[in-house]
Symmetry: C2
Subunit: 244 residues, 2 copies
């Protein structure tokens, strides 16, 4: 089917998905670009392909063809791709696995995406986002994950409740602070089969009431002129060490 | 002095500094926000403070006061600060120190800024940018460095020439590839007092003619579903290991 009108109901709906609230209400989101579409396809969450007319894709999926003008209205990018897809959110509340990453109020979409990408790289099982974290389905987040968002279990939940549940299973809870903590070398002597790592907000770190529930604080030694590392970098270095 | 007109010659000049070419021509750039201004002040490169009228700053520096309307024209930010400064570029071509980071065509301003921040954290002496790297004085780059741009020696140069010069001093040249290389553990057995690390472009990695000059390739082991890490993250993890 070729759609050419911006007044088409479906198209109006897809344009509205730029808005977080509408994504939340419909539990759907749009992804852009060949690479992301391929990763979403592997995961089986594509509801409909949206292709610029004359574009060919080798997937047996419901497909609509649209004009370049429509692509330009749906997109969140400066140079839009001819390949998009409407996807279903993965709705889930399962705290599965043994390795957990808890993110407490990360605000920058690029940072969240980068952290998700690193979490998959370093074998985290479940990521828990505090409710005030930037929207997981923000297009910039999805892009920065490089499609890895589709390869890891991610839930949104109050972190204190999650930590209590993990503690009841004797999972050690590692926090991070920029002002003090134990050198990462300590991890050599630890059993790293089960753990939870908490990473805080870019400006303010971990919130007080989550911090008081952490067992130990890890610290990355740096030149003293540097107050802190980028949150995505700090998270990734610790995940790298935990994965050794 | 209070300036209220957008037609003022100085203000027109400052607005033009949003353009890379004009920054390059004048060797000046604008920074925004208390934190960056403080770091630039420590470095002694501020030529003039630009403050929104009624803002007080404790520096003995040439200062102009401007209206909110003017701030909104000079700024590169969505929520501008009341504190800005005109700075002189640090013009320099010295390949100083023993620890070098060579960046081959990094394109994302956030990545470049993050890498500079990590390079200072992990005690790099000189960063060399290939000429096709994103502009160092791009406001997004400066912001992402968190002011660390003022605390490290950075030069722009052809990387092949630089590598030849480093090799003549017997500095080992480590490259990075996403497809193969030696596990970072190898660094434990190396003398890490002198080295150069080359990080490539986000999409294409290190260019062919630079790659052939590298002595060894380092590799960060990740879950196989992940093709690569974010360039800023990969650079930071290796710099962290080299600093151990």
């Amino acid at each position: 089917m070729l759609i050419t009108s911006l007044e088409n109901d479906k198209i109006k709906e897809y344009i509205k998905l730029k808005d977080r609230k509408h994504r939340k209400k419909t539990k759907m989101f749009i992804i852009e670009g060949m690479h992301l579409v391929l990763e979403a396809y592997k995961k089986g969450i594509i509801k409909e392909l949206i292709l610029e007319k004359d574009t060919v894709m080798p997937f047996n999926l419901p497909t609509i063809y649209v004009t370049n003008e429509i692509i330009n209205k749906i997109t969140n990018m400066e140079s839009p791709s001819k390949v998009m897809a409407l996807c279903n959110m993965i709705d889930n509340n399962n705290l599965v696995g043994n390795k957990f990453l808890l993110l407490d109020g990360i605000q920058d979409p690029g940072n969240l995406g980068t952290i998700i990408r690193s979490a998959v790289a370093f074998n985290i099982d479940t990521i828990v986002l505090s409710p005030d974290t930037v929207d997981l389905y923000n297009p910039k987040v999805i892009r920065a994950t490089q499609g890895m968002i589709f390869h890891i279990n991610i839930i949104v939940s109050d972190l204190r409740t999650i930590i209590d549940s993990l503690k009841s299973k004797e999972v050690p809870i590692y926090g991070t602070r920029v002002d003090y903590g134990i050198n990462l070398n300590i991890l050599k002597s630890k059993d790293k089969k089960r753990y939870a790592l908490v990473i805080g907000n870019e400006g303010n770190g971990i919130s007080e009431n989550v911090m008081e529930k952490c067992d130990e604080f890890l610290y990355i030694e740096t030149n003293e002129v540097v107050e802190s590392l980028n949150a995505g970098v700090a998270a990734s270095i610790i995940l790298y060490e935990l994965n050794k």
